[in-house]
Assembly symmetry: C2
Amino acid sequence: MSKKIRIAVDAMGGDYAPTEVVHGAVDAIKEHDNITVILVGDRDAIKKELAQYEYHQEQIEIVHTTEVITCEEAPVEAIRKKKDSSLIVALKMVKKGEADAVISAGSTGAVLVGGQVIAGKIRGIKRAPLATVIPTMKGVSLLIDCGANVDARADHLVQFAQMGSIYMESVIGIKNPKVSLVNIGAEEAKGNALVKEVYPKLKELDTINFTGNIEPRDIFAGETNVVLCEAFVGNVILKLAEGLSGTLIGAIKDGMMSSTRTKIGGLLVKPALKDTLKMFDASEYGGAPLLGLNGLVVKMHGNSKAKEVRIAIGQCVTFMEQGINDKIRDQLGRK
Amino acid sequence: MSKKIRIAVDAMGGDYAPTEVVHGAVDAIKEHDNITVILVGDRDAIKKELAQYEYHQEQIEIVHTTEVITCEEAPVEAIRKKKDSSLIVALKMVKKGEADAVISAGSTGAVLVGGQVIAGKIRGIKRAPLATVIPTMKGVSLLIDCGANVDARADHLVQFAQMGSIYMESVIGIKNPKVSLVNIGAEEAKGNALVKEVYPKLKELDTINFTGNIEPRDIFAGETNVVLCEAFVGNVILKLAEGLSGTLIGAIKDGMMSSTRTKIGGLLVKPALKDTLKMFDASEYGGAPLLGLNGLVVKMHGNSKAKEVRIAIGQCVTFMEQGINDKIRDQLGRK
């Protein structure tokens, strides 16, 4: 039998930790008999949650820690000070080869900084981008970098394009994915200094299927598979889309509650509306991976529940089974 | 009687030129007896349109031109070559003091470049930002810079903040408007090098009501009045919002057409839905002004019709009556 995939889970990170995190871990091992989940956090709290379930005990380990990094703390300082926090201990396990992947729904800043600093980058990778699957009219796209490296350089973005392409093909399963550069015009000559420098470099690459610029208005229409941008722009896209969808849907719901007539109409369209909105739910695709690291670090939403934890663990399994890091090393690593 | 406000209108720019442009101009002079509209473009085509209306003839002038800049042309080259285009001739009228303002629904690039190069900037203004009114849950906000100056510097953004504040207060009528900096986190220490440099400079200004960072998810909730960012990010915000709203609303409409039940429900909620979507229509506020110029240059949507042209002319009138450029000179101009 082949060696088991070892996934360290930050049991203390997120709004519903440890309850939902432990629940998701138990569900995940039932789906994957080739994995061991290491729950990192307060032993007593974890044991109390585990006591509710029946599961193969040899698939779950507990590593006891005494500290938790909160979202309110400055990430760099928290990482330096809280050596015995669940996140840092989990990341160190990846660093030491004791785990293949880490998932956390805790502080985004601490995951991003800790991922790069503690887990460490693959030799030859300059920066580790955060990628996330976004829903579109035609399925899903990968938005990369959606928040890890502000003020990135052109050569960083070129690597992000390659890593994003590998991830989209091997983990999400889209063959020869289209890679496009976010720009404020369709033509090559458009944009700021960064994108003008990146564009010709992407055109030269024969390892990706570069299709040119994508204008922001076309992103959610699903015109491309990998949406490439630097982290400030990527984070604006991600957060604006979340905020605007919420605002629009809220306004539409309010409109439907405005009279008896619209309330009746609203009841009739409600199931269809629900189905429509489900189309725009990308949570089936797991959390946001930080790519280019030794091992894999996945950042989940702070409000993740058992289902999202289970899916994120499955995402780590696919990542490992597909040998993503070997592919990144082959294409981008320094030999 | 005070001197009339002279507004040059690019009669050949936009999808519905000259028909709708001329129509809008005629409607505008009926609302404002203190203006003269100069229709710049092909004389015969303009006269043919004008022949359909009754109006005070002394309020309309025609300046004949023989060329038109299309949206397909590279702006810089088009401006250099097409000296007798409607847009260039109109902009030169502002430069020479023969007109107070220009409105155009033509090529955005040509309007932006031509505005800065031909109309010219107020002494002391480093860059002329493009501002646009965006709809929010609480009314409207001003997004500035939404597309004119990529790779702007911190001192440019500081001027944009001041000009945006003046415009919002005097043209849109929001007293002591809140000004916020688009950032990917709420805290001062967040963001890229540019926003980190801009933030303390804005905090020091006593001419604006700076409220700190605004995260993209809160923009359309209407948390602030002036949404400040550099042009690449601003254009991403504008275009993404347009694209995503369209995508979402399209999907919801499709959902409502999916069965007899939902079709009936859809009919019942349709008027309310229409009202809701009208909330998100900022066309009542005119076109996008390019601020900090000698005179005023307003870029309208390419698909503008008579109503939008009429409103944009009214916007120029308010701009002039409120003495915006004097206010900008007082606060920002080099003495």
